[in-house]
Subunit: 532 residues, 2 copies
């Protein structure tokens, strides 16, 4: 597939959007929301989720113009090409990773004709290996070194090898097989490992060490700490440790690990939750059936992201509304606010997935971008946030677009009526009330009780946060991020911006271990300032 | 104390800063950091913490101008007046809360002459009640309804009654008395309560219900759910529940609670961690001695915030550097990045404390502000973030100022050398490396490997995150936020922006409970969209 060379801001559809942005829809006009069928017509459905966007600052003309933008720049065609193996992780004319982008193949296991047969076959092979392994664990064929069954899975990984699996586990832990749970060590901070190991019954613990290269410094360090704990407990780590890594990496070694599950170079860490990176842990905790449901939900959303019409393509709609807010209305951040405590780490995952993908300043041909790219992503669950940072969102000087996420039913089914409504109803009532309050605002004689309104949001709604909808939700955002990156013509799949810090950290570590050989360098002076 | 009426942007010192901002210090010039004694001279020490700010885009002339700004607008004088009982929670000429602001009195227990004797006396009375109660708990005089000692404290509260206590508990849990721990229910999401109650031994659980008004809907609802669980377990809640509330509130009722501890109207929720809101829970978990250390640390920082010279006043320095970044360099967000896993919820607390305080658009005389106020605050622990969102911070189109927080020693003391350094050294090396990388950047022929640099940060360093330094850190940010609010001449102590959402949520709940009496309202149409 050819990488587009045109500056997107020079395109016809960009100019049209810029014209429309001179008079964006005013949400705070009287009756703005209730007039006609605005509410009912601004709805988009995909893979069991519903998107309501009447509280965005768009009218149907803007939505049409956003669709035209997607068409002119062939965003959906690029997504289709991506799923079929196009080499889209590259910068044309410069040294770059030069790889395919095929995280979607991890869940393309359910049809006779997968989009990219070769990678889908690799995914199926790993999935079958995992299923077989989990059957052995369930049957007690595979046990800990002291002959005890496994109860806890301890994940040692950082970044993409931590955030997605952790957010998904937290989202679905109420569906866990009885007696099974997960813990996570990510930070090189020794207090992280120490806290997570505390009170853990190692004899019943499976450890997954997750690193594609097999050389991530934090992960290797923490693996060493955890192995030490196993040795001290008289347990052979090779009976407890699983490697999730690239084939042939230093970690791909049956002498040290019970099993190796493979990651492939066409899947970036932040898109790897549905690969073995997430599946080993989720399969152990949820069982293979529920894991399959999770993958089915993600696959259904991938299919939806190929729909040509924006009204049928929720990831595209979300991506284009984001582009409108970022580039034409000029908002620098995006808050993701799930009204679901189970999603309490989902914004942290999306922070990585979005900001690492689209926090870029050059196009796919190496030219400086001519518009702002990825926003700062942040968020915490509602209703908690309402009692925290919503003050600024209602009355502060910064406009913060919002993506609300909510579900009609609780996961656990324990609820009761207090003052006329149950808790789940209160939760949904608050979500809707906030979207309306941000949009409509309120006039008042007292300036401190005035709300200007006109603050845009979208509402994503599902029946109940189960494995299938969690898969759909995860894939919705993965596809949104990718489509938005195509819209900016940037490479959403590399992360060169993390390299400089790594190199400089190495210099500081050398200074620390070589202990004062040089005293006038920047490193030495900064270190000496810390201690004096 | 008179509220200033002048528009701060019309002041001499504002104009001077605006002039200086035309040519801010370039951190990415060769040798910018190492030239002269820049590194060593840009250090500020208060209450056991050290602030390094050579990686901010300031020179000594800007620091002087920021100090002049603080002087012209009498920021420290206002802070002193606040601690001495001035009525600073008000909007001049308009109906407002009209209250004193005396959270600092909660820790003003250690001198014979507290800054505000009346409120310090009230604080001491509550502290003594708490100490006496905890002695009874320790001695087994107070036990659960089945005669078992208390092991877990379950906090039911939201916003300020949750985030500060939770962040502090997480920060200090490695100092907990053996066998004691805390859990938290905040969200009205029924899955939150259900998850927290799961596996909890209620017979050994103390419950603190925290609400100043005694009428917070989420908290009342969750309290009802938790009481039900106690009834089902055959336990009398009155033997397990503690009220932390305003004297005379509906919750201040000995028939329903074992004890009442009081909150006062001169302490806002987001500033209440050192009041009984945090102290009951922290005292139970950490013991009275360590709780006192925590309060001593906070008090020491309050004292430091009264220093006239900006170089001796870390909260003021941090506040003014923030003003510079926000108003003169124009950055809309601030990332708080603790290199300490124990601080993993600290940014969430500061998100509330800062954004609810300074997310305002009118001055203290009710006029519209003429400059941006509080930024969006966000953050996650490093090194985790390095593998997540740092890509955008290094190479994205948005500049994100940073406040790094780090400690020289781990809390738990379990560490080992891997590849020449131990984990704590790796952690500190990474923190310093990131500050340098953001500042200095890197040139490269490949545009994708280029870092423009010039991205500002501060570094806050302490010896070890213990109760005393955690108190200092908490009070550092409380004082920073307050001083910054004075600098913008806004009221940092009210939160009118949360009221509209509450009112509208009430309308949705009525629609839900009265079940379809009206079908054409906004509320009815939105609710019907969710289910159809």
């Amino acid at each position: 597939m050819k990488i587009p060379t045109q500056d997107v801001t020079a395109s016809t559809s960009w100019h049209h959007l810029a014209d429309l942005a001179a008079r964006p829809f005013a949400l705070n006009n009287p009756d703005a929301l209730v007039r006609g069928d605005r509410l009912e017509s601004m709805v988009c459905r995909s893979a069991g989720l519903k998107l309501l966007f009447a509280t965005q600052r768009v009218d149907h003309e803007v939505v049409k113009a956003l669709a035209d933008y997607a068409d002119e720049h062939q965003l959906v065609e690029q997504f289709r090409a991506m799923r079929r193996g196009a080499v889209l992780n590259r910068i044309e004319g410069w040294e770059s990773e030069n790889r395919q982008v095929l995280h979607t193949s991890c869940r393309d296991l359910f049809s006779v004709r997968p989009a990219d047969p070769a990678s889908a076959e690799q995914a199926r092979r790993e999935f079958d290996k995992l299923r077989f392994f989990l059957e052995e664990v369930d049957a007690g064929v595979v046990q800990g070194a002291h002959g005890q069954p496994f109860e806890t899975i301890l994940n040692v990984g950082i970044g993409g090898s931590d955030l997605g699996p952790r957010a998904t586990y937290e989202a679905l832990r109420s569906f866990a097989v009885k007696g099974r749970s997960a813990r996570f060590i990510a930070n090189v901070d020794p207090d992280d490992a120490s806290a997570q190991l505390s009170g853990l019954n190692l004899a019943r613990t499976l450890v997954t060490v997750v690193s594609k290269s097999g050389s991530t410094l934090e992960t290797l360090t923490n693996e060493t700490l955890v192995r030490e704990a196993f040795y001290r407990a008289g347990l052979d780590p090779a009976r407890h440790f699983i490697a999730v890594t690239g084939a042939g990496s230093p970690m791909d070694n049956p002498e040290h690990y019970l099993r190796s599950f493979y990651m492939f170079d066409y899947i970036g860490g932040r898109y790897s939750t549905t690969s073995m990176v997430g599946c080993v842990l989720l399969g152990f905790c949820l069982g293979v059936e529920q894991l399959s449901e999770f993958l089915r939900g993600a696959h259904a959303m991938d299919e939806a992201a190929e729909a040509s019409a924006i009204g049928d393509n929720m990831p595209l709609m979300l991506a284009m509304l984001g582009l409108w807010n970022r580039n034409f209305l000029g908002y620098p951040t995006l808050a993701i606010l799930p009204y679901s405590q189970a999603l309490h780490r989902f914004a942290a995952h999306l922070q990585q997935c979005d900001m690492e993908s689209n926090g870029k300043s050059i196009t796919r041909t190496g030219a400086p971008v001519s518009m702002p790219t990825g926003p700062v992503i942040w968020g915490e669950p509602g209703t908690n946030g309402q009692h925290a940072f919503y003050q600024l969102m209602h009355q502060g000087s910064e406009v913060v677009p919002v993506e609300f996420i909510g579900f009609l039913n609780p996961q656990r089914g324990q609820d009761m009526v207090v003052r006329g409504t149950n808790s789940q109803q209160k939760l949904i009532a608050n979500l809707l009330a906030q979207a309306v309050a941000f949009a409509v605002g309120r006039n008042h004689t007292n300036p401190n009780k005035r709300f200007v309104g006109n603050r845009p949001s979208s509402i994503i709604i599902g029946e109940r946060l189960n494995p299938r909808l969690m898969g759909a939700l995860l894939a919705l955002y993965e596809a949104k991020i990718v489509l938005q990156g195509f819209g900016w013509n940037i490479n959403s799949f590399d992360q060169e911006g993390v390299e400089l810090g790594k190199a400089l950290a190495g210099q500081f570590m050398r200074q620390m271990s070589e202990d004062g050989t040089e005293s006038s360098t920047l490193e030495a002076r900064l270190l000496s300032l810390l201690t004096n």
